[in-house]
Amino acid sequence: MAGQAILGETVLKSAMAMEGTALTVEALVADHSRMVFRIAYSILRNHHDAEDAAQECFLRVWKHKDRLHEVSNPKTWLARIAWTTALDKRRSGRKMVSLNDGESGPELMESLSDSTLAADEQVAGRQKLQLLQRLIAGLPDELGQTVELSTVQELNSAEIAEVMKIPEGSVRTRLFRARKQLKEKLAVLLEGKKHG
């Protein structure tokens, strides 16, 4: 950790020694890198890919460093860049868990209910997330993307609307419809477990 801190300080100094706009980019990295990573992770569902997307996002920002002064809301501007970067990365065919991979929905539900032991809690949590990921992947794109952005803690509905370039009311409508569909799918899975 100490080595990383020294390295970070060195990189920070060299970044500040770059052109004057580099300080602004560095400030964006310091303030919003966590949000950028989470946005990318909500879409890519992989730490390595999310970090690559965050890196690429800030590279895109750096390429437009001469126009940073024109940005009115850096947070949502950066969030939109992160979102489009992650979507591009997902479309490019990076590994994504499909609905047919691994365990099926009922099997996951079975394991969730039976995993009462503390040692299995971590596995159960991962399986829960895999289940939700598969349910979201089954939604239409506009609903699924809205739900994915809504899971990022740093973004509220107004910021999601600005990122997606849609009205805030549309965000709420989409979230309501998405939530309804997700509950129906969960109910079907629970019924299947009971009858199975």
């Binding site: 970070g8 939700l132 629970l190």
Partner: protein, 198 residues
């Protein structure tokens, strides 16, 4: 029955909320900012390096273009230069001879103009240049030679009757019949002698 359905819905709601709450709660690995800044610094260095290389290639391209242009100009100058002997033969600056109108036209001495075959395919510029300098009068008038000038002077100074008299060839002297028969040897025997030698 309704309570069971309500409980079921509440259970599903709670499950969905818990799932969504943890969906994007992943934390990045330590040092994310450092790695991002290092990546940016690397990108900046690459960009400056690429700019320097572009500048270098620009200069190299300019020098190469200058060399090519110089080579083309030097080669073109050698190629356009016309052959000297053609220019000398076809020059229109040669004065025409002064010929008196009443004097008979003497047969001209044929002047052989030596011309090298023009390489039309290889040197079209030379062919075009030779065509542009071709004289309008053909054959090209040439000055009289010294012998021609002496002959012309003699003809103008000599009376016309004397010239006519001199134009006839001298008649052979009249010889008698006897002398003619004696003078001509008998050639009939010669073939026979020749035939015996076979």
């Amino acid at each position: 029955m309704a309570d069971q359905e309500k409980d079921k819905q509440m259970q599903i709601d709670d499950m969905l909320d818990s799932l969504l709450a943890n969906y994007s709660s992943a934390e990045p690995r330590p040092g994310l900012e450092t790695r991002i800044l290092a990546g940016l610094q690397g990108a900046a260095e690459n960009e400056s390096l690429a700019g320097w290389w572009n500048f270098k290639w620009l200069w190299a391209g300019a020098v190469a273009a200058a060399i090519i242009v110089a080579a083309v100009l030097i080669g073109g100058r050698h190629r356009i230069e016309p052959p000297k002997h053609v220019m000398a033969k076809t020059s229109s600056a040669i004065p025409e001879p002064a010929i008196q109108p009443h004097a008979p036209i003497a047969p001209k001495e044929t002047v052989r103009i030596y011309r090298r075959k023009s390489r039309a395919t290889k040197q079209p510029q030379n062919a075009a240049l030779a065509l542009s300098q071709r004289p309008t009068v053909f054959p090209t008038p040439t000055p009289l030679s010294e012998q021609e000038q002496l002959l012309l002077r003699y003809m103008t100074a000599t009376p016309r009757e004397e010239l006519i008299a001199q134009s006839h060839p001298d008649e052979p002297p009249v010889v008698g019949d006897q002398d003619q028969t004696e003078a001509i040897p008998d050639l009939t025997l010669i073939p026979q002698k020749l035939g015996n030698t076979r």
